[in-house]
Symmetry: C2
Subunit: 335 residues, 2 copies
DNA sequence: CTGAAAGCGCTTACAG
DNA sequence: CTGAAAGCGCTTACAG
């Protein structure tokens, strides 16, 4: 491999064309006022020399890096990767690159360590699957960088958010389990202090109460906070036969654990998940699950960010009030 | 929201401490030669003022952006998202942020449009799930940016690559299908001109030949290049009963199409996929698939990149020669 | 319509 | 051990 690392800069284009860097820059950025002839000289020289703009230098001077930071736990759960895929493509179409930050699933919050790494990149915007830690809210606002919480309600923080009606989704799960004839229900959440987790739980419990039944409080558990094996043992011993899980990945983990304990899926017990990830990878419908319509959801998230960046006035329509999640029937519940 | 966007720069820290920006920078970058007392003054001022370095400015001057570009078709296939997750976390641990680029699955190659967007970001390295287009190879080399092809063989391009033994994997699939008693086999690839796709095909055909059988050439098809419905119709009409798919997502699509045509999975026909994505999201083992061990694979890819960036001499051990893929039995094949 | 100068926020030589 | 100056590659006012 030869060391031919000729980085071509505006100065080279200026020299080649006999113009000033200033004029070259103006042409490339399509600022008004230059002749057709100049434009051609510049574009020709750029092609011949293989000029590629340095976005970092550009961003430093102009104050806009054309970069958007995307923050999440991890990319393993397809809910994150599928929506990140759609969102980042939408950003790309509008000239923004995406820079990704993971907190390794060690917490459901954006903490100082994370936000510092993000801000160091001077992104034009931040789209986060994680809620900000309580003591980070003011800090984030002071950076002046538009911050969109995706998949979670932003209003408690006075921030922009794009979220779905999680209470409604939890209700769908409850009604379906009851319709199937399961009597002894449980909810397996992720974190006890995350609103989206509690909202699904709330919808679940309310729908059950509306039918005159109730969930035993000891059957409301949070998988990230307890020993998983003992959670399952308790549910099995207590004769739980209908389980609503915070998301599909948790549902699959539960199904595996139940199978190890000799329980037959659909017959001995039913499971409802959330997100419909099997649809994303074209899998057969094994799991009954609540589907928010990730494609539209992701698009709404991207559009919220792009709307804020455009500087236009006015609010965007609320995804939550305009969309209804649906229950998708799989083999993990009866009927 | 108040407009309090005070961006704190080195100049502010210098003013606060009575030192020069120069000295402040030296302390923050832990360059030799400064007193304990100066160090404390600087760190205190940084904490009080909430200083966060501007990596773009830093990169412009130093020539290193501490950014790595990751290139792929899309993030929807869990093979990409799972490995990207592991790789980007490893980069992060070593002080590199990841910036992602997708080509929307419109081609299996890195073309000029894509590489231009990448180079504009001046990444320290490029890790690509896509092979470079033939006429981009020299261009990429001339940028001087370390380029690692992940999951594909780099040697045809004279580039670094981290890949697995795909021929061996294809052989595993063939032997299993034959062991199950399937007689009339087919291969459904992705692109006819991508080496990794052809290698799996090669291993598949060779293993079948070694048993004295053969695959009908019309049963070697490429899903990205033909009408899918007619592919499946042909296979069904020809009585194909054993199908090896380039990856699990394709396998699921095939299973759905076969079910629509009244074929019973495992009994009437068997399917073997590739990647073991069901393991990644903790799903039950539906699909029989070839598992390369994505965790180690991703780690090897990240380490190759980091090794190149470290500037250390010597070659890294080859993943391909050190690792063997394994066949993971699911319900999509007999026995 | 085009150019010379300044400056974005850093780090890198070079002095002292 | 610390500082003044220059410069990374651009874009932004400001002149002409």
């Amino acid at each position: 491999m030869e060391e031919n690392k000729k980085k071509v800069t505006l100065k080279d284009i200026a020299a080649r064309t006999g113009l000033s860097v200033n004029t070259v820059s103006r042409v490339l950025n399509k600022k008004p006022y230059y002749t057709k002839e100049v434009e051609e000289r510049v574009t020709t020289a750029c092609r011949e020399l293989g000029y590629i703009v340095d976005m970092n230098a550009s961003g430093l001077r102009s104050g806009s890096t054309h970069t958007i930071a995307i923050l999440f736990d991890d990319l393993i759960n397809p809910f994150y990767s599928y929506t990140t895929d759609i969102i980042s493509k939408r950003f790309e179409e509008c000239g923004y690159n995406s820079i990704i930050f993971s907190n390794n699933g060690r917490s459901p919050y954006v903490d100082y360590d994370m936000i510092r790494r993000v801000v160091a990149r001077k992104p034009d915007g931040i789209l986060s699957f994680l809620e900000p830690a309580e003591d980070m809210v003011d800090f984030i606002k002071q950076t002046g960088i538009p911050f969109v919480i995706f998949g979670r309600d932003g209003s408690p923080y006075g921030m922009h958010g794009v979220d779905a009606d999680e209470v409604y989704g939890g209700g769908l799960a409850a009604e379906h389990l009851l319709d199937c004839g399961y009597k002894n229900l449980a909810y397996i959440g992720s974190w006890h202090d995350v609103k989206v987790c509690l909202d699904r739980q709330k919808g679940f419990e309310e729908a059950i109460a509306a039918r005159g039944a109730a969930v035993d409080p000891s059957h409301i558990v949070y998988i990230r906070e307890k020993d998983f094996g003992s959670i399952i043992d308790t549910l099995v011993n207590d004769g739980v036969d209908g389980i609503f899980c915070f998301n599909d990945v948790i549902a699959f983990i539960v199904i595996e654990a139940m199978e190890q304990r000799g329980k037959r899926l659909g017959e001995d017990y039913g499971v409802v998940g959330y997100d419909n990830i099997q649809f994303m990878m074209r899998m057969p419908r094994l799991l009954t699950t609540v589907d928010v319509g990730c494609g539209d959801f992701a698009k709404a998230g991207a559009d919220m960010m792009l709307h804020l960046l455009s500087g236009e006035e006015g609010e965007l329509p609320s995804f939550r009030s305009a969309h209804r999640s649906v229950l998708v029937k799989g083999k993990s519940t009866k009927q």
